[in-house]
Amino acid sequence: MCEACEDLIDPKETELDAVIARHVREKGALIPVLQKAQEIYGYLPAEVLKHVGRGLRIPLSKIYGVVTFYAQFRLMPMGRNVLRVCLGTACHVRGGAKVLETIEQELGVKDGGTTEDQRFTLEIVACIGACGLAPTMMINDEVHGRLTAENVTEILSKYE
């Protein structure tokens, strides 16, 4: 392959193709493939969904149905850090709403929004299972507990 051709190859697409190839014979592969695709691209652009549909031979309407059904899937780009504020029962009774309010003010976005500098995407979730430390939030895969309106600002500042 010549150098010019190599430039045309999208490494993400190559990776996605490998994922599809690995799962193509597997039953029920759609959701794991979409999860991997989202890992690769950060979200699920329409072109990627079409690509997955062709690869797995699944009608696009069904893929769109699945993507919009599950909270995990994103059709829009996400920020560098995904901030999930828990408003589960335990967090609710221990003042999760106040924490959320502070975060919303701090970042200037609401549920589902991404900050202009792409630093954070804010999501409200119902229970991350760390109720003992309510109120809680999760930034990427890290859980932060015993939040207050004061310490939350400090935690946010640690993420670039």
Partner: protein, 648 residues
């Protein structure tokens, strides 16, 4: 370095390809196939390395999600460093474990064999702990857990009220093994239940044993597990599946996470036994993607079990095959419903299907399928290891065994508590939970998550078991216990749960899709002071129809929080509607803000921050809020440093 898993000598020729029926016994009592005292001694030495004793003291540091978020991994690192530094590495061992359950006091660590519990440990405390415990042989008094009621420090973890009243069967290993090491599990009698089943029992006998134990599904409905297995066993099919439901979506419940993170092999062993009993050779664990640590531990556990031949083909030379896969959920509460969960594994929208056919006849890919949740599976090894009778010694007549509850909310000791079925709510909340935070008054306990109900203080002496709770309008559910005090508004809580249910409704059937939304709207109106007298009847009638006509458990149980709140706390609804008053001072539209002139220091911060500009005053006169212009945002109360702004 040799581990328990390595062959004792070259006379041992077994591998997963040439499996041995006595593999598990060999590791703990062995070797079996040849009698050599040297090999036996070597095995016992390796076993001793795992189990704590005076020559091999162990520090079990909770690195479950809760404690990990409070820096538990730093504590593990500091401990290792300090122990090396002090030259104690040969006698003291640091073991990162799953959840100890005492999340309120995390990070926690337990030192064995002395049973010392240290709470709220910080990396700075590590040097002192190592010095006192392992050099001076003393305690670090300030880190011992102090009972909030008696003010007495707990000398051992078993003395701490939180642990003392628990009966740990399923959680027996959690916090005392390294969940990333299969040998730790085997050293604590792991996979003995499987060995018993495969060596001594027919599949039907296994089902009979589970039936005899009285085990009922721990996921919500409480269906007898043995009976469920027998349906799937009897179903005709060339291929059968079993599923472990680890899509623990109930807000306020995290026992399944605790078990998966802390003792993943218990779930795998339970599934192996179930698969053998049912005749399945393939299984799936459907785990929430929000539980990355649980998935990680499960992945490691499956790999290890495969490596030693406890998963795969011809397990323990019995001819029984079983392969286990993990599917990460993608965020949908309704996937806890088994037909929706199956649809999700099949790669579809997680919409429940009408029954019949039941999954036992036609489930995953149309094949007979049996689904139980994490806690149910984790109970099974105990039944097969120690027998149904010993298992059934705990619990009530119709609800046998123990149940893990996730104790959260306004209670002193939040965390995971495993108790025998039939314990009263009062014992759980006040003895184990240590009562209400800040000396406030208990108002209600929400049990069973969005499908359960709120029970008032007159129900505190209710026995916690499947049938009693259902009769009272709540349910065991997955076992979330959210404690509420006088500052919790029951209308607000009902609205909260309906908001959850309506946003998690799959949208398939009319009553749930449209009905939960309308219920939420009515409740929202009431919390805003716009409720009318007739709304309560409309709400009740709608709740009953949604309950009676919805397709799946989500819709059928979504009205429970409303119905139970209306049953036990109707007066609070009426106060919102008639008096436009929120007795708990929660619903912001019904609050009035007032400044206490005696407390006001006249700093003016409230007036400066007021977005409506309705606070007036100066250095000489106390500040005052113009109630007609107040937008009830609460900013003044938030900024006041003297607590002078009163919410009424």
């Amino acid at each position: 370095m040799k581990t328990l898993l390595d062959p004792c000598c070259d006379r041992c020729t077994h591998t997963p390809e040439t499996p041995c029926r006595d593999y598990v016994r060999c590791l703990t009592e062995g070797p079996i196939c040849h009698d050599d005292p040297a090999c036996k001694a070597e095995k016992q030495r390796l076993l001793k390395e795992i189990k704590p004793n005076e020559e091999n003291q162990q520090i079990f540091v909770c690195t479950g999600t809760g404690c990990a978020s409070c820096g538990a991994h730093n504590i593990v690192d500091s401990l290792n460093e300090e122990i090396n530094h002090q030259g104690l590495a040969n006698t003291v061992n640091v073991v990162p474990t799953g959840c100890h359950g005492f999340c309120e006091q995390g990070p926690t660590l337990i030192i064995e064999p002395r049973q010392i519990l240290y709470t709220l440990v910080k990396p700075d405390d590590v040097a002192e702990i190592v010095q006192k415990e392992f050099v001076e042989g003393e305690r670090v008094e300030r880190l011992l857990y102090v009972d909030p009621l008696t003010n007495q420090p707990a000398t051992t973890f078993a003395n701490a009220n939180f642990f003392a009243k628990q009966t740990r069967v399923v959680l027996n290993n959690c916090g005392f093994i390294n969940p990333e090491k299969i040998e730790d599990y085997i050293a604590r009698d792991g996979y003995k239940g499987l060995t018993n089943a495969l060596q001594k029992m027919t599949p039907v006998e296994v089902i009979d044993e589970v039936k005899k134990s009285g085990l009922r599904g721990r996921g919500g409905a409480g269906f007898p597990t043995g009976l469920k297995w027998s349906f799937c066993r009897q179903a005709i099919g060339d291929k059968k599946y079993i599923i472990c439901n680890a899509d623990e979506g109930d807000p306020g419940a995290f026992m399944d996470r605790g078990v998966l993170e802390g003792d993943p092999h218990a779930v795998i062993e339970g599934m192996l036994i179930g698969a053998y009993a049912i005749g399945a050779d393939e299984g799936y664990v459907y785990c929430r993607a929000e539980y990355p640590l649980a998935i990680k531990h499960l992945e490691i556990a499956i790999r290890q079990a495969e490596e030693v031949g406890l998963l795969g083909d011809n397990i323990l030379n019995s001819g029984f095959n079983f392969h286990l896969f993990i599917r990460a959920g993608a965020g949908a509460f309704v996937c806890g419903e088994e037909t929706a969960l199956i649809a999700s594994i099949e790669g579809k929208r997680g919409m429940p299907k009408v029954r019949p056919p039941f999954p036992a006849q036609s489930g995953l890919w149309g094949k007979p399928t049996n689904n139980n949740n994490v806690e149910t599976w984790a109970n099974v090894p105990h039944i097969l290891r120690n027998g149904a009778d010993r298992y059934a010694q705990f619990g009530t007549e119709k609800s046998k065994g123990t149940k893990i509850f996730a104790l959260t909310g306004k209670v002193n000791n939040t965390g995971l508590a495993e108790v025998p079925m039939g314990m009263t709510l009062r014992d759980i909340i006040f003895d184990i939970g240590g009562g209400i935070q800040n000396g406030k008054k208990f108002k209600a306990v929400q049990i069973g998550g969005p499908s359960g109900g709120c029970l008032p203080d007159e129900m505190l002496d209710l026995q916690v078991d499947y049938d009693t709770l259902t009769k009272a309008g709540a349910m065991v559910g997955s076992g979330g216990l959210v404690v509420m005090d006088e500052t919790t508004c029951m209308v607000d809580i009902a609205r909260f749960f309906l908001n959850f249910s309506q946003s998690e409704s799959c949208g398939k059937c009319t009553p749930c899709r449209e009905g939960t939304k309308r219920m939420w709207e009515i409740l929202d109106k009431i919390t805003k002071g716009e409720g009318r007298e007739e709304d309560l009847d409309t709400l009740e009638q709608l709740a009953r129809v949604v309950k009676e006509t919805s397709l799946c458990g989500l819709g059928q149980n979504a009205p429970n929080p409303v119905l139970s709140a209306l049953k036990y706390f109707r007066h609070e609804f009426e106060a919102h509607i008639r008096d436009k008053n929120c007795p708990a001072h929660v619903c912001s539209a019904l609050l009035t803000y007032r400044i206490d002139p005696d407390k006001c220091k006249k700093c003016g911060l409230c007036a400066k921050s007021c977005p409506a500009g309705c606070i007036t005053g100066d250095k000489k006169t106390p500040y005052e809020i113009d109630a007609t212009a107040c937008i009830k945002c609460g900013t003044c109360a938030k900024v006041c440093k003297f607590g002078a702004v009163l919410r009424e």
